[in-house]
């Protein structure tokens, strides 16, 4: 029963992992850039939700769209000013530009918000639903539901809207997309803004059961990369599968190992996947 419970918990948190990682995979899919700073946008999303709660009394779940909006605009600006300039640069420049962004965002947050841990309190924080012999924690369920909703919204946007199709066209063949009159610069900006915005959204919905601090991103860096690499870097559907898988791996390994070693299991899975199937579990055979 403990195993079933762990799988259920894993699915719940895995849904959130999927959404925060979709942003990362989207940016890579459209621009070919691995954003090492992605987890910092999760941290920013958490802070937006925290201050919306502290100043406006807004529940983090309701503040999630606000977090999305704020970080969306920030992301558009960052794409315009920074990322755009290294799109054709060597990989080492791309890697260290985003690493530099990571350092700047983390320390800017440290300066602005202080180094302390902050958390919100909500009426449903400690409640849980009983499902036969299993329990579902309400904040987990709420975060999961919000993640599914945002994931579906993104899916519809990518499928049905002109922007979504234009973005996918740019990802597939930038030259052909350009010839069809698609402004690839604008598509890149949209993809990056949407990518970091979604991650911030995910940050807001997990705030009810986590605490936020400027260094919270560090906990999520390798986790997010494990998710996207498991599913195949650049694949949105892959990120969903990867997210659920990572959630389950994490909560199952919590049964067997002490808490400090939980991440170790994840790292080893990550290295193994990179070594054996770098195109992801869903990717074609090499």
């Amino acid at each position: 029963m403990a195993v079933l419970q762990a799988i259920l918990d894993g699915l719940m948190i895995g849904g959130v992992y999927a959404v925060i990682s979709i942003g990362l995979t989207l940016v890579f899919g459209v621009m070919g850039i691995v954003n090492f700073a992605q987890a910092e946008f999760l941290m920013l999303g958490m802070f937006v939700a925290y201050y919306a709660w502290a100043w406006l009394g807004l529940d983090p779940l309701l503040a999630a769209p606000l977090a999305f909006g704020v970080v969306f605009l920030l992301g558009a600006a960052i794409q315009r000013v920074l990322i755009r300039r290294v799109l054709k640069a060597p990989e080492v420049a791309q890697i260290f530009l985003t690493v530099g962004m990571l350092i700047v965002l983390e320390n800017a947050a440290l300066l602005m918000f202080g180094s302390g841990f902050k958390s919100v309190s909500t009426p449903y924080q400690t409640s849980s639903l009983q499902l036969g012999p299993l329990f579902i924690s309400v904040p987990y369920l709420a975060a999961f539901a919000m993640s599914v909703a945002s994931g579906l919204a993104l899916f519809l946007f990518m499928r049905a809207s002109w922007f979504g199709r234009a973005m996918r066209a740019t990802a597939q063949d930038p030259m052909a997309a350009k010839l069809m009159g698609i402004d690839s610069d604008r598509m890149h900006m949209l993809a990056f803004a949407l990518g970091v915005g979604l991650t911030a959204f995910g940050g807001a919905v997990i705030l009810p059961y986590l605490t936020v601090s400027p260094t919270v991103g560090a906990q999520f860096v390798v986790l997010m990369f494990t998710v996207v690499v498991l599913g195949g870097l650049g694949s949105v559907a892959g990120a969903v599968v990867g997210g659920l898988a990572v959630g389950i791996i994490q909560s199952l390994s919590a049964l067997a190992f002490p808490i400090q070693l939980q991440n170790l299991v994840l790292f080893l899975v990550f290295i193994a996947v990179l070594a054996l199937r770098p195109k992801g579990l869903l990717g074609g055979a090499r």
Binding site: A93, L97, L274
Partner: protein
């Protein structure tokens, strides 16, 4: 030997003489000499990173793994067996080489972002192990190098000057290794991999073996520098020596700022970055934690945007501007 190589050799000899004599100009108990020591050490570390990243374009974000292995190995051997850090350094180098070999096996076929990600995770694995295996490493509280009567044999000195010469010697050795590799067959093979790995394979370069050889040399040297760091600082913890920002990224950044793939780049980079960071720390730390790191990040972004090939390329750009570079 023509005149320009002669002049160059002479210039290097003068530079080295000045470097050896510098500590006599600095207060032996002062702060400046410690900063210069750190700059020398980080220059050597960046040079190690340069062997793999600069020559073969395999961008590692996990070199802290080898550095930490070196620091912990010699220190633990000193604590438990009283072994001289010089011997501890050799053991650390062997372990660092083994670690580099092991991580090369699953990652050698990876390129670019994928390689960076895998090495990043490897460094983090080592940090997590060091933090949670408290029985061996002392865990997150850190570990102190036991004091011994100051002597060369125990790599401990009363004042800072001998450390300075130690760091300088390390930098010279690592730089010579880098230059020797670059000129050797191994160097040509590494560059062939950098330009086009598939083409290199086709013309008969054993790319796997070449990459592993370079990684092992780089890992061993980095581990040796970890020992020097431990003996210099006397105290460290897992998050310092295995840190992504504190070690892995800083090593890479120094090489990039100076000029990736060049022998002088890491040295220029270190003597720019380390004093700047120390200065910023000194200036701001009392008022605002994080500001000096912020400066570090802004600097990194600035260099990438302005000239991703670093000072060395910037220098030749400026020379060309004044018409001394030959070609217009």
């Amino acid at each position: 030997m023509n005149r320009s190589t002669l002049l160059r050799g002479l210039g290097l000899a003068v530079l080295l003489a000045v470097a050896v004599a510098t500590p006599f100009l600095l207060d032996p108990r002062g702060y400046a000499i410690r900063v210069v020591c750190l700059a020398l050490l980080f220059a050597a570390m960046a040079q190690c990173w340069n062997i793999v990243a600069g020559l073969a374009n395999q961008v590692s974000l996990g070199h802290a793994a080898f550095f930490g292995i070196g620091a912990y190995t010699s220190t633990l051997l000193l604590i438990h067996f009283g072994l001289s850090p010089w011997l501890g350094m050799l053991v650390g180098a062997v372990l660092g080489g083994i670690a580099a070999f092991l991580i090369s096996l699953p990652t050698m076929r990876l390129k670019g972002h994928y390689f960076a990600l895998a090495t990043l995770a490897f460094g983090e694995v080592m940090r997590v192990i060091a933090n949670s295996w408290s029985g061996l490493t002392g865990g997150p509280v850190g570990i102190s190098v036991p004091f011994a009567p100051p002597s060369f044999a125990m790599m401990q000195f009363k004042e800072t000057r001998p450390y300075y010469w130690l760091m300088l010697a390390a930098l010279v050795v690592v730089t010579l290794v880098f230059v020797a590799i670059r000129r050797s067959k191994l160097g040509y093979r590494l560059r062939a991999i950098k330009e086009n790995a598939d083409a290199a394979e086709v013309i008969g370069v054993d790319t796997t073996r070449t990459k592993i050889t370079a990684a092992v040399i780089s890992g061993m040297l980095t581990a040796c520098l970890g020992t020097l760091y431990a003996q210099f600082q006397f105290f460290f913890d897992p998050d310092t020596v295995f840190g992504v920002a504190s070690i892995s990224v800083r090593m890479a950044m120094i090489a990039i700022v100076g000029g990736i793939g060049t022998a002088a780049g890491p040295i220029l980079g270190a003597f720019f970055v380390i004093p700047l960071e120390e200065f910023a720390n000194d200036l701001f730390s009392s008022r605002a934690a994080g500001l000096s790191q912020l400066v570090f990040g802004v600097l990194l972004i600035g260099v990438i945007l302005i000239e991703p090939r670093g000072f060395m390329a910037l220098g030749s750009r400026i020379r060309r501007l004044f018409g001394k570079g030959g070609r217009p």
